[in-house]
Amino acid sequence: MTVELNIQLQRDEFFLDAYLSAPAGVTVIFGPSGSGKTTLLRAVAGLERVDSGYISIDKANIVGQAPYKRAVGYVFQEPRLFPHITVLKNLKFAQKMGRMGGGQDVDEVIDLLELRPLLSRYSAALSGGEAQRVALGRALLSAPKCLCLDEPLSALDHALKQRILPYLERLRNQTKIPILYVTHDASEMARLADHIVLMQAGRSVLSGSATKVLADPAAVPFLGVRAAGTVISGCIMPPDPITGLAIMSFAGGQLILPELSQPAGREVRIRIAAQDIILATEMPKGLSALNIFHGVITDMHQGQGPGVMVQFRVGQTLFLARITQYSAGKMGLALGKTVFAIVKASAFDPAGIGT
């Protein structure tokens, strides 16, 4: 299934003009607050009227259709559980109302999101994270053709977010419908995104596969300097027999990750922030850093500030490093030149490690 849209709508001073094409998997819609992410999502669900354009699910236009006929599941920032019935009845309600009927099995969803201990409770007796998991399950059970998640974790604290993210990853890996995921949290995006659409001031400014967009220096102004960084996918290897440190192998080399506690053989993705990479023109010696790679510069992008984004390739994997213009000039960095990249192992954000 694919969701495609090209819509325009005007609300007072705000104008939304967005295009996107979301295949199965997670498409993260990323942008600062006020950039139109939520409005875009609400338009897909039919909760916001569009002035012109089309929204299609599997080539069928749904503009003008009442929200309840669209089969677009929606998880809001707040759980919005029905307070007068139990968790189980909330789930059953969704299953009954989702017209296609043949949606997911209640027990399957309950197991996927580990809802079993909550079933007989009312929403007032749930914690924020539990309630949001139920809301997610409820949306899944309505047999949606497309799932919209509108900053579902924004109301939760950091620790709770880390506990919910694995559920979302499991959901992504198990469902075959497009998931539109709105967030302004870069680590959430890095963990979940298969595709990324960047929004700014009501417009979709850049889109593409997550690895491509995150490694694109031109995307940095929209992501923000701190959020810039590439996502590397790889496989966990058995720990180094001598040092005992965990190793991840990727297309281009091996990363040593002291803080990683994942079993060998597991596919993982990790985010490496652009500001955590140091570049050198010669092989550095006598360094404490464990990860040093040999790469070729493939792109350079000058921002408005004093920094410059350098994209380089190690094997088949693209990295992004942020250094000052002054350093870049002094080192004589240019397209096609060879660099050595030093990545501090402690720089890996454990929150950015996903499966």
């Binding site: 909760l47 309840y68 599941g73 809001f76 029905f82 307070p83 109302m97 989702g98 949306a139």
Partner: protein, 228 residues
């Protein structure tokens, strides 16, 4: 005949009052719920007008409301010919008494239900909508269960109001023993004649019994709702 024995006319007044109050609430409740929903949830042309119209019986002198009912539904009234075709007579009948009581109770019922509706977060209805529930199902499965205590409260104040309605009723349907004489108009009639203290006392006792009974019943229902 002891002092507490009810005369046939008094029994008729009692059963008529009960009938009038029950019928007026039963008929008003669904309409009032619909009107309250429109007023609380929808914005449309004439919203303010509808709101004013609903509240009119609350602010008009009851006698004026009764007179307007006569102008509208009397035999020579605006809708008189229509009612005649339907074979319905409202002026000076018990059905008319129920109509007068319903009109007077209507604003109170609407207000109670509207308050309950406004306490329901429309975001819940929106969520139900995205789960595939049509507006009617959203109302039935989400909104209505949540406003049920308010509907019950509306029914109780409406019942009490209908039970005590006097001004509009006596103007519209007069005070005919056995036909349109409710407890309230019976007490009024009895007070016009000297030496009827015992009868007045009996009627007052009956109205207290009815009111307290209605209150108790609603308490029991409300408790049962909360337990659920």
């Amino acid at each position: 005949m002891s002092w507490y024995t009810l005369s046939p006319v008094e029994i008729q007044a009692f059963t008529l009052s009960l009938w009038v109050a029950t019928v007026s609430v039963v008929f008003s409740l669904p309409i009032a719920t619909g009107v309250a929903f429109l007023l609380a949830r929808r914005r449309f042309w004439g919203h303010g007008l509808l709101n004013a119209l609903v509240h009119l019986p609350l602010v008009l002198p009851p006698v004026v409301t009764g007179y307007l009912l006569l102008v509208a539904f009397g035999r020579r009234g605006i809708f008189g010919p229509v009612l005649e075709v339907l074979g319905l007579q409202l002026a000076f009948t018990s059905a008319g008494a129920a109509l007068a009581a319903a009109v007077m109770a209507f604003p109170l019922i609407v207000r109670a239900i509207r308050l309950a509706l406004e306490a329901v977060d429309p975001k819940l209805e929106e969520a139900a909508n995205t789960l595939g529930a049509s507006p009617l199902r959203v109302f039935g499965f989400v909104t209505l269960p949540l406003i049920l205590p308010g509907v019950l409260a509306g029914a109780v104040v409406g019942f009490a109001k209908a039970l005590g309605e006097f001004g509009a009723t006596i103007t519209f349907v007069s005070n005919i023993p056995g036909e349109t004489q409710t407890i309230a108009s019976a007490i009024y009639a009895l007070l016009q004649v000297p030496g009827q203290e015992a009868a007045v006392g009996r009627m007052i006792g009956l109205s207290v019994l009815l009111s307290v009974g209605a209150l108790l019943l609603s308490e029991i229902l409300a408790r049962r709702m909360v337990r659920k």
